[in-house]
């Protein structure tokens, strides 16, 4: 049998303790088989609601095996007898360990009939105390051995969607704030006859433009972006065959990427801030900003 993670055990022990009104330690001990299970002394109240029978396909033919209608109503007598829904009875009594007593059968199994006055609202979680009772214990004998440990998961709603929503709101607020205080640049109208000096590409290409000033354009402008920037980059998962994901076990890959980041960042920053007329080296705090996108951003005086 697969070991159940401790926190899951803890959680179900808490639920059991709450349902039975015992302490968590007691429930835990019971679940581990270290003490006798608590017996519920009071029969849970089962509300009988008039429920139209399931469609014909699901109900067994009345002639064949269906017990008398009386079997459907819960037996009021002994504590040990658990009322079992009629449709489930045949297939469950032998195998099932615990049967949930609920106000209604699960929605999926008995869809509401297509009656005009039928309630179109399905109450998914009735306000009735849901209790589990032990019928019999069947040794788990899986046909297949489970391949892996159960993964610890949480519900997307609300645990993922709420933080996501907050992130979206924060981003929206940040963008509106940025747009309110910083004006996007708009220079004079485009004029092919007047070349600004220097003419700079958008910031994300300025690393490339900086490299163009070192090497032949065939290399810096074409070979590096296509071969390194695209082909090598796309092929990276196929080159790096190390299956480890922990940083301590893939030091070379981490180093490689960090060097790339540092190099690209340095080139871009040089291109943006430290290049002036004639692509000559300038200091932004002395010679000013030679990048029009940043006109409204930084003022060195």
């Amino acid at each position: 049998m697969v070991d159940i993670p401790e926190h899951l055990l803890q959680r179900s022990a808490e639920a059991r303790a709450k349902a039975l009104g015992i302490s968590v330690e007691q429930a835990m001990a019971e679940m581990k088989g270290q003490s006798d299970p608590t017996i519920i002394s009071k029969e849970p109240e089962v509300k009988v609601i008039d429920e139209t029978p399931a469609p014909a396909a699901e109900t067994p033919a009345p002639a064949a095996e269906t017990p008398a209608p009386a079997a459907e109503t819960p037996a009021p007598a002994a504590e040990t007898v658990t009322p079992v829904k009629e449709e489930h009875a045949a297939e469950t009594t032998e195998k099932v360990a615990a049967v949930k007593i609920e106000e209604k059968a699960p929605v999926a199994k008995t869809p509401p009939p297509a009656k005009a006055d039928a309630p179109d609202e399905v109450d998914f979680a009735p306000d009735v105390k849901v209790t589990q009772r032990l019928l019999t214990v069947v040794k788990a004998k899986p046909i297949q051995k489970p391949a892996k440990e159960p993964i610890d998961k949480v519900n997307t709603w609300p645990h993922l969607m709420l933080p996501e929503f907050v992130a979206l709101m924060a981003m929206t607020a940040f963008l509106i704030f940025l747009s309110a205080i910083l004006q996007a640049p708009l220079l004079e109208e485009a004029n092919p006859n007047v070349t600004p000096n220097p003419a700079k590409a958008p910031w994300y290409f300025l690393g490339l433009q900086e490299m163009l000033s070192y090497w032949d354009p065939q290399i810096a402008g074409v070979m590096i972006p296509t071969v390194v920037g695209l082909i090598l980059w796309m092929a990276f998962p196929y080159i790096d065959r190390n299956p480890e994901t922990h940083p301590s076990k893939r030091k070379f890959a981490i180093m490689f990427y960090t060097f790339f980041l540092a190099g690209a960042g340095t080139l871009t920053i040089i291109g943006v801030l430290f290049r002036g007329p004639g692509w000559n080296w300038v200091y932004p705090w002395i010679d000013g900003i030679w990048f029009d996108d940043l006109l409204d951003w930084i003022h060195f005086e």
């Binding site: 998914f124 963008l175 509106i176 747009s179 485009a190 958008p202 433009q209 940083p247």
Partner: protein, 254 residues
């Protein structure tokens, strides 16, 4: 019973009547928090995700470590969100923009005479820069987590294509204001394409719709920017998101 309680009761009744009514029940599928009788139960938590066309991009459950903000920093989601913001502001801007000799005048009018014109243009421009940055950071996050490893190799490839498309979208949009900044940035970029071996001249000619950046280039970049690249990127995004699910959701834990 005090007036306050009575008001409270009336309001609750009205709310229940509305949320339980035919209209709301027809709009929102079972399990929606907007319907009457929503309670926080495991089943309803699943329904919230499953029964909504927007939310069902997500699985019903995610790995516990994946919802820690420090694991993803929401970078992938924010990239997608910025794309949506850019689409909305971009469509708005299209109402006031003609990709002709009038482009520059249109931008001036947008900034000076149209309500919120300046703000929306700023949002579109800074949002675009931000998207390039966020997509790049997302890629870095994925790299540092080794999240491109099997079985996610191909999704990394798609991700690199998405980064490239983001850059192309941003670059084609850069020309549209038709000012000195735009035309010369694009000239520098386009000239780089001219260095491609063998077919460099042809590529450059195709990009500029001529030998240099003119209003023909403007029209070309406009169509690429508002129609062609968004169309392509949406297809790749769909594959990207789908593969995230098929490859087993979020990677890790480390």
């Amino acid at each position: 019973m005090s007036l306050r309680d009575r008001l409270k009761e009336t309001r609750a009744k009205a709310s229940d009547g509305f949320r339980g009514g035919k209209l709301m029940s027809s709009i929102f599928r079972p399990g929606s928090p907007f319907r009457k009788g929503y309670v926080d139960s495991p089943r309803n938590r699943s329904y919230v995700v499953m029964n909504n066309v927007l939310y069902h991009l997500h699985p019903v459950k995610v790995k516990r470590h994946g919802v820690r903000l420090s694991y993803t920093l929401c970078l992938g989601g924010l990239s997608f969100f910025l794309f949506i913001v850019l689409t909305i502001t971009g469509i708005w801007l299209m109402f006031y923009f003609r990709p002709t000799e009038l482009a520059y005048v249109d931008i001036q009018n947008l900034q000076t005479t149209i309500a919120f014109g300046s703000l929306v243009r700023n949002m579109h421009r800074w949002g675009a820069h931000l998207m390039v940055l966020v997509v790049f950071l997302h890629m870095s996050r994925v790299f540092y987590h080794g999240a491109y490893k099997a079985p996610r190799e191909f999704n990394w490839v798609i991700g690199v294509i998405l980064l490239l498309l983001t850059l192309l979208l941003s670059f084609t949009g850069y020309l549209l204001p038709w000012d000195q900044l735009a035309i010369w940035a694009v000239t520098v970029g386009g000239n780089m394409a001219g260095y491609v071996p063998v077919v460099g001249a042809q590529v450059k000619f195709g990009l500029f719709a001529g030998l240099e950046a003119t209003t023909a280039t403007l029209l070309r970049f406009y169509v690429l920017h508002v129609l062609f690249f968004p169309f392509i990127i949406v297809i790749f995004m769909a594959v990207h998101f789908w593969r995230v699910r098929k490859d087993g959701g979020i990677s890790g834990p480390l």
